[in-house]
C-alpha cells in the first residue's frame, strides 16, 4: 500500500490548476504515487455549512467513504477541503446518532464498485486525511527531499503563508500559533525563509473577496504591504483561495497602499518543484498573474 489517494477539490481543477500541476510533478519527481480518488465530489467548503448542516456533513462523508476503501491516506491539498474532511471525521466519531443517520442514508442512496460489482457505500470513518505539507515533511522526510534538490533557491527571500484552516481550529501536525512545517520545507529547498513575517496564519479574506471586495482588499493589503516592507521576494502559499486572493488583486492593493505591488505568490509545491529541477512549465509557473521571471532572474544573478 504505497502512495496516497488524492482529493483535488474543485479549485485545483480551476483557478488552482498550478497547485495541482506542481503537486503532481513534485510527487512524481519524489517517486511517490498520488492517485486521484474516483468520482469525488465537492467537500462543501464553508458555503454549504452556512446553508444546511446535515447536507454539508453528508457531502464530506461520501468522500471519506470512497477514500477509506483503499486503506491508504488521502491527500487533500486545499486548506478548506482538508479542514472540512477532518472536521467531519471528528464529528462522525464524536456523535453516534449523526454517524448512524449518515451511514443509513448513504447505504440507501450511494454505491461503490468493488470486486463483486456495485455495492451500497459504507462508512467507517477510518481514513486519515492529510495535507501535502504534512506528508512531505513527516512521511517523505526533509532528508530525502534535500538529497533530491538540484537547484537550491538560494537568495530567494520567501515568506511562508499557511492561511487559516490548516492550523485552526485543528492543528494535528504543527504549532497552531507559529507553524513551522512550510518553513522547514522551504529551507530544504534552499530558500531564505522570512521568519519575521508576522502574518503567516492571518486570514486572506477567503470568499469575501468575491462577495465583499472592499473587505477582502483590506485584508490582502495588510498581508502584501507588510511583505513588501520586509523585502520579501515571494509569498509561498498552501491553499488555492489564499493564492488567488493574494495574487489576483494586487492592482487594487497597490491603489489602497499607495505603493507598487507586484509580489509573486507561488505555491510551496511550485518552489519545491523549481528546487527539484522540474521544468517551470510543468509547475504552472506561466499561469501566474504577477510575472515571476524578474524575481527568479534576480536570484540567478545573485547566485
Amino acid at each position: 500500500m504505497s502512495g496516497y489517494d488524492y482529493y483535488p477539490g474543485c479549485s485545483l481543477k480551476g483557478t488552482g490548476k498550478p497547485y495541482e500541476e506542481s503537486l503532481l510533478a513534485v510527487f512524481e519527481s519524489l517517486g511517490v504515487a498520488l492517485d486521484e480518488l474516483d468520482d469525488w465530489n465537492c467537500c462543501g467548503a464553508t458555503a454549504y455549512m452556512a446553508v444546511d448542516e446535515m447536507q454539508a456533513v453528508a457531502l464530506a462523508s461520501r468522500n471519506l467513504a470512497l477514500a477509506e476503501k483503499s486503506g491508504r491516506d488521502l491527500v487533500a491539498p486545499c486548506n478548506a477541503c482538508w479542514l472540512v474532511l477532518n472536521k467531519t471525521l471528528g464529528r462522525l466519531e464524536g456523535d453516534v446518532d449523526l454517524r448512524d443517520a449518515i451511514c443509513a442514508a448513504m447505504a440507501a442512496t450511494c454505491t461503490t464498485l468493488n470486486g463483486e460489482g456495485r455495492r451500497p457505500l459504507t462508512l467507517e470513518g477510518s481514513v486519515a486525511v492529510r495535507h501535502p505539507l504534512d506528508v512531505l515533511v513527516n512521511d517523505i522526510g526533509l532528508e530525502t527531499i534535500e538529497e533530491k534538490v538540484v537547484s537550491p533557491l538560494e537568495g530567494l527571500r520567501v515568506a511562508p503563508y499557511y492561511g487559516c484552516q490548516i492550523v485552526r481550529p485543528l492543528a494535528p501536525f504543527d504549532d497552531q500559533h507559529d507553524p513551522q512545517t512550510m518553513d522547514r520545507l522551504l529551507a530544504a529547498a534552499g530558500c531564505e525563509v522570512a521568519a519575521d513575517y508576522p502574518f503567516k496564519t492571518r486570514c486572506c479574506g477567503a470568499s469575501q473577496m468575491m462577495t465583499m471586495p472592499d473587505v477582502g482588499i483590506d485584508l490582502v493589503s495588510l498581508l502584501i504591504e507588510d511583505a513588501i516592507a520586509r523585502d520579501i521576494d515571494v509569498i509561498a502559499v498552501a491553499c488555492p483561495l489564499c493564492q488567488f486572493n493574494l495574487e489576483g488583486y494586487q492592482g487594487k492593493v497597490a491603489k489602497r497602499i499607495g505603493k507598487e505591488a507586484k509580489l509573486p505568490i507561488l505555491y510551496f509545491t511550485q518552489l519545491l518543484g523549481l528546487a527539484l529541477g522540474i521544468e517551470p512549465k510543468r509547475l504552472g509557473i506561466q499561469r501566474s498573474f504577477v510575472p515571476v521571471a524578474p524575481v527568479l532572474e534576480r536570484r540567478a544573478a545573485h547566485a
Binding site: 480551476g14 465530489n41 446553508v51 465583499m212
Partner: protein, 197 residues
C-alpha cells in the same frame, strides 16, 4: 437626518431565540463568556462588522434576535477560526456563526440580495446539481443575483484567469450525480440542527 434610537425594551427580546442560542454549545459555554473581547480582537474582519463577535453573542444571549440576524457580522465571518482557538472559555465561535447564518437563511431574515447568501446558495445549488463547483459559473451567478455592477471592478481578475488558463467554462461534474443528489435529499429529510460540539 433620521436617527435610529439605541434603546431596547424587554419587548424587543425574544427569549426563545436566546434559549436556542445558548443551547447551541454544550456545557453552558455560551453563558460563561467573560467578555474579554479576544474574539473581536482576533477577528480580521471585526473592523467592518456592525458589532464584533463578542457583542453579537451578548445580544444573542439577551435575545435580541432582530439585531443579531439582521447584522452584517455573521455574513462577514470567513471561518478563519482565529476567535475559536483564542477563546478562554473554549466557545467554538466560528461554528456559532455558521448556526446563526443557517438560522437567518431558514428564517428568511438574511438580507435578500446579500452577496454572501447568494454565493452560498449558488454554491450549494451547483454542488447539488453536479457534485462539484465550477468557479466561472459561481462568479457569474453571483454577479447576476447580486447586481452586475459591483463586479465590473473585478473584471481584470476574470480576464487574467482566462488568459492563464485557470478558469474553464466547462462544467466540472461527477459521474454518479444522481446518487449524491439522493443522498443530500435523504439527509435533508432527516433534518434537524446538529449540536455544535
Amino acid at each position: 437626518m433620521a436617527t435610529e434610537p439605541m434603546i431596547r425594551t424587554e419587548a424587543d427580546r425574544d427569549p426563545e431565540f436566546a434559549d436556542w442560542f445558548t443551547d447551541l454549545v454544550g456545557e453552558e459555554k455560551l453563558r460563561e463568556c467573560i467578555h474579554c473581547g479576544i474574539c473581536t480582537g482576533s477577528c480580521p474582519l471585526a473592523s467592518h462588522m456592525d458589532f464584533g463577535p463578542r457583542k453579537l453573542m451578548h445580544l444573542a444571549r439577551q435575545g435580541f434576535s432582530a439585531d443579531v440576524l439582521g447584522s452584517n457580522t455573521i455574513w462577514l465571518c470567513t471561518s478563519c477560526y482565529a476567535c475559536t482557538v483564542a477563546c478562554p472559555e473554549q466557545i467554538p465561535v466560528t461554528d456559532v456563526m455558521y448556526a446563526l447564518k443557517r438560522r437567518a437563511i431558514e428564517g428568511g431574515q438574511a438580507p435578500r440580495k446579500h452577496p454572501v447568501v447568494n454565493l452560498a446558495k449558488g454554491f450549494t445549488g451547483q454542488v447539488h446539481r453536479r457534485g462539484r463547483m465550477t468557479e466561472a459559473y459561481l462568479i457569474a451567478g453571483l454577479a447576476l443575483r447580486s447586481g452586475v455592477l459591483r463586479y465590473v471592478g473585478m473584471a481584470g481578475v476574470g480576464w487574467n484567469s482566462v488568459r492563464t488558463g485557470r478558469i474553464s467554462l466547462l462544467h466540472d461534474q461527477i459521474e454518479r450525480k444522481e446518487e449524491l443528489r439522493n443522498l443530500l435529499d435523504a439527509v435533508e429529510q432527516h433534518g434537524g440542527e446538529v449540536a455544535v460540539r
